[in-house]
């Protein structure tokens, strides 16, 4: 109950083509994350699926039914907006009831579902408050509650955590993942934060300029980024990308090595350099090392207690089994 299929879908705003022909299938029950830098078209894509925007050409089907010209309300999808879009003049209870009221669900059934959703989302004590009296996290849960009670074929999330502070964001991330495990409903989640994508997704869709750069599970994307863009986008801190003679040694235009795949030593190694800024996280330390002969500093992960400081001479050795090679077009060399 919630397979969504896009076939040659395009979207133009006037002469500007935001989404060139795009094909994508989201399987029933899958947690799919659209990720990409801002302006990559991920939110537009979500709005096309929701029906809040018309597609310029192509076909969208939901559960095998052509939904291209079906109005948003009739697509059986629920959406959680970035600003939560709660109705400020209605109590939490009325907010959650609104979609059921529109659908003509009997009042007893409405109340049953509201109570169930409120219990699941820890909102029982707040049902008679107005959204303005709630904290950011609570508003977020009301928005989710409003989506749940519709029992939709799929949930659409448009950057739902971007208005929350960092600590709350981690908590909500877990709650949404938990919700997905429990409901087993298809979820499409848009974010610019690759950490959210990696931690929550069954399937990640990396987008850039309206084009799908790669589709795959988080680990697939981590292990085998299909091109330089995905390589640089997935993983934190970013993968180190090198061009020029160093890449040529490996028969590639660009080589990439992740900070966690470089060994650091004070005595010997492949590349020599000087420690610049170091970021101590406690569990790990990230060193920015200026290497001789490279333009940009390399980021290297080391243990939390490594005693190196600004200006120290060090040697770096990349793990060659984890080296990513890309050709002049930026595509992965197998």
């Amino acid at each position: 109950m919630g397979q969504i299929k896009l076939e040659s879908v395009t979207k133009s705003f006037g002469p500007v083509e935001v989404i060139p022909p795009l094909d994508l299938t989201i399987e029933d029950g899958e947690f799919t994350v659209f990720v990409g830098p801002s302006g990559c078209g991920k939110s537009t894509l979500l709005r096309l699926i929701a029906g809040l925007e018309d597609i310029t050409s192509g076909k969208i089907s939901i559960d095998g039914q052509d939904a291209t010209h079906v109005p948003p309300a009739k697509r059986g999808l629920a959406m959680v907006f970035q600003s939560y879009a709660l109705y400020p003049h209605m109590s939490v209870r009325k907010n959650i009831a609104f979609p059921m009221k529109m659908a003509g669900v009997p009042v007893e059934e409405q109340n049953r579902r509201i109570e169930a959703a409120a219990a699941a989302l820890n909102l029982t004590d707040y049902l008679d408050r107005r959204p303005g009296q709630l904290s950011g996290g609570q508003r977020q849960r009301v928005a989710i509650g409003r989506a749940i009670v519709r029992e939709p074929g799929a949930f659409l999330f448009d950057e739902p955590l971007s208005n929350l502070d960092a600590a709350l964001r981690v908590g909500m991330r877990l709650e949404i993942s938990e919700l997905h495990k429990r409901l087993k409903t298809t979820m499409i989640y848009v974010t610019h934060d690759q950490v959210e994508a990696m931690t929550m997704a069954d399937k990640i869709v990396v987008l850039q300029a309206g084009v799908i750069e790669q589709v795959g599970s988080p680990l697939e994307l981590y292990r085998a980024p299909r091109n330089v863009f995905v390589a640089g986008f997935i993983g934190s801190p970013k993968m180190n990308l090198l061009t020029g003679p160093e890449a040529a040694k490996h028969n590639a235009h660009t080589i990439g090595t992740r900070p966690e795949h470089i060994a650091i030593s004070q005595t010997e190694g492949t590349w020599s350099g000087t420690i610049g800024v170091s970021e101590h996280l406690g569990s790990d330390t990230f060193f920015h090392v200026k290497c001789d002969g490279f333009d940009d500093p390399l980021t290297v992960r080391a243990g939390g207690e490594v005693a190196l400081k600004y200006g120290d001479k060090v040697f770096l050795t990349p793990d060659l089994t984890q080296l990513h090679r890309f050709d002049a077009q930026g595509l992965r060399i197998a």
């Binding site: 309300a73 959406m79 109705y87 003049h89 609104f98």
Partner: protein, 276 residues
Amino acid sequence: MARAVTPQRKALNTAIAWGIGLLIFFPILWTILTSFKTEAQAISDPPVFLFFDWTLENYSVVQERSDYMRFLWNSVIIAGGSTILGIIIAIPAAWSMAFVPSKRTKDILLWMLSTKMLPAVGVLYPIYLIFIRMGILDTRMGLVVVLMLINLPIIVWMLYTYFREIPGEILEAARMDGASLKEEILYVLTPMAMPGIASTLLLNIILAWNEAFWTLNLTAAKAAPLTAFIASYSSPEGLFYAKLSAASTMAIAPILILGWFSQKQLVSGLTFGAVK
């Protein structure tokens, strides 16, 4: 972050401001006071300010002689009717412009504003003629329509300004939740914009209440509102100051009270959002 001001400075400000405020308000105050005097006291030389025999007689005389209630009722119907009708027509238009803007939205808004600039006197005769032909000269219905049309641009503009402050996502959420366009406007937009709609209502009632070109020229006996009621005192009857004052007080009191409530919204309404 205002700094502390010396009490002397504040006292001086207060004295000057109150002095000027009372000076500006004085004509209204004087009118109200005179309305409680006898005709003899109203023109006594030197004038009496507060120490006179307060009487309500003028009010009852004015009421009896000129049927104040009928004019008041006409004013209420004309000002209220034209404003409510205008708002009903303007809400959907303002919704369109605020939430589904197109390249022409700005042009349409400015054009609507430009109709407001048409000098009334330039089209007086055509309107007069149309009114006669349609048999709506000196009817409340005719004036409701004309004042609605005069104020429609302001109503659309004010509502548009208020609607633009409502995030589109909320209306989209309603659409996702299965609301039809009508339900979206009725259950979500209108309640959310209530403060804005209320101030639009208030300001336009004031403007329609005080409108004194069309109400004077398109009415005679039947549909004349308070503007015409007062204008009728410009002839010899105006020499009865106490009665003139009582009539004036009755004509301006309702709107003075409404106006004080709406002063905050007045600015953005009257400047079409150009000054906030």
